[in-house]
Amino acid sequence: MAGGTEDIEALIDIMAKLPGLGPRSARRAVLHLIKKRALLMQPLADAMTQVAATARECLTCGNIGTSDTCSICSDSERANGQICVVEDVADLWAMERGHAFKGRYHVLGGTLSALDDVGPEELRIPKLLDRIRSDGISEIILALNATVDGQTTAHYIAGELEGSGVTVSSLAQGVPVGGELDYLDDGTISAALRARKAF
């Protein structure tokens, strides 16, 4: 690139660090933004400045919003006694996309991991137990990933809640919508078979 473009290079370098982007795609994106400066770049810069100043973790559930209590936790209609436990904010947003769950959430911020030495204290598990005690929760739905670490975490939480009187459930495992059996891995097929129901 010609000289005198250090600021643009710096922007490209930052953009290249974003997920899904590499140096070449970051360069294309920056060039596109520069071409659409008024229409795209300035509003983007304003929005980013605004979000950078206001984005924060919800003190109750760990969701990301622009106030200390997120819109889900402050919605009184969602106080139905159910908490859906997810690993990450991205999982919470995925659940919300489906509009299927009408209760509240709790973001753990990760899973127990033997490899990375992540224990219960590093996650928001103590905070979850506090919420269950103080908010009159009747059901915990464990929506954790179907991985060894995800399910280890789920069993740990279920163990902690044993004898508390709270119903603990988890998401079903099996054939995804649009899934073809021929393309499924053996583990998913056997999990689906074990979780079969009357038809």
């Binding site: 127990l112 060894v148 891995d185 583990g187 998913t188």
Partner: protein
């Protein structure tokens, strides 16, 4: 440089956006790491779960390079045990202890065979006892084996009741004398009594835990034992105390 073998997947770590660095325990190459291109993707996620039996082909320009794996699944184990907290805790304990203890690229074919037999029996009755025997074999393979064949003091092999926390040698009741309170109790499960109860197995795990953390982990640089082992022991104890 390239080779092909089968092995059990011990650990997976995301590398960049779509790749993963995996650690595989193979019979001829020991614990061996390598990159799997696309290993963090949706297609490979069910395959790359700890405990999976894989057919792996490793390739690198030089032998000391990290190298890249291509993997084919032979047998998944995680999906079978995800609903069973004790078996899942056992699987995690085995994989994390092997990752913790084994030096890289050093073959341990006997330990490999024992580990596969243990993982194949996951969830079976008396699995806790099998796990205890496996920990004994692990200690032995790492050079911290217990000598429970005869008393370190009298040389006799009947009435063995204690074990020295320092040397790992068995001691009889008479041989212990006034030193008994400084020795670890020797449960029947460590002497090969497969009919030993769950409480006895837990006592055995307490002894192996002492040697794993106090001797083996110390030799590896004072690193703490993986928490997954304690979670398995706690889970086993909970099963024992549940009404």
């Amino acid at each position: 440089m390239d080779w092909r073998d089968e092995g059990v997947l011990l650990a997976v770590r995301k590398h960049g956006e779509s790749a993963a660095i995996i650690e595989v325990f193979t019979p001829s190459r020991g614990r061996h790491a390598g990159v799997v291109r696309g290993g963090a993707g949706r297609r490979m996620a069910p395959v790359l779960q700890p405990g999976a039996q894989l057919d792996v082909a490793w390739r690198a320009r030089l032998e000391d390079h990290l190298g890249a794996y291509t993997v084919e699944p032979l047998q998944g184990r995680a999906a079978e045990v995800m609903g069973d907290p004790l078996a899942l805790a056992g699987l995690t304990a085995v994989c994390s202890l092997l990752t913790f203890c084994l030096p890289e690229r050093e073959p341990h074919p006997e330990l490999y065979a024992r580990s596969i037999a243990l993982l194949d029996a996951l969830g079976a009755a008396q699995w806790g006892y099998a796990y205890l025997r496996w920990e004994l074999a692990l200690l032995d393979e790492m050079g911290f084996g217990l000598d429970l064949s005869a008393c370190a003091v009298t040389g006799k092999n009947d009435d063995l009741a204690y074990i020295s926390p320092r040397t790992g040698r068995a001691v009889t009741r008479t041989g212990a004398g006034d030193w008994a309170d400084r020795l670890l109790p020797l449960p029947a499960s460590l002497l090969g009594r497969s009919d030993a109860g769950a409480e006895d197995v837990l006592s055995g795990l307490s002894v192996t835990g002492h040697f794993l953390s106090g001797h083996l982990a110390r030799a590896l640089g004072e690193k703490p034992l993986p928490a997954a082992r304690q979670r398995f022991v706690d889970r086993l104890a909970r099963g024992q105390t549940r009404p």
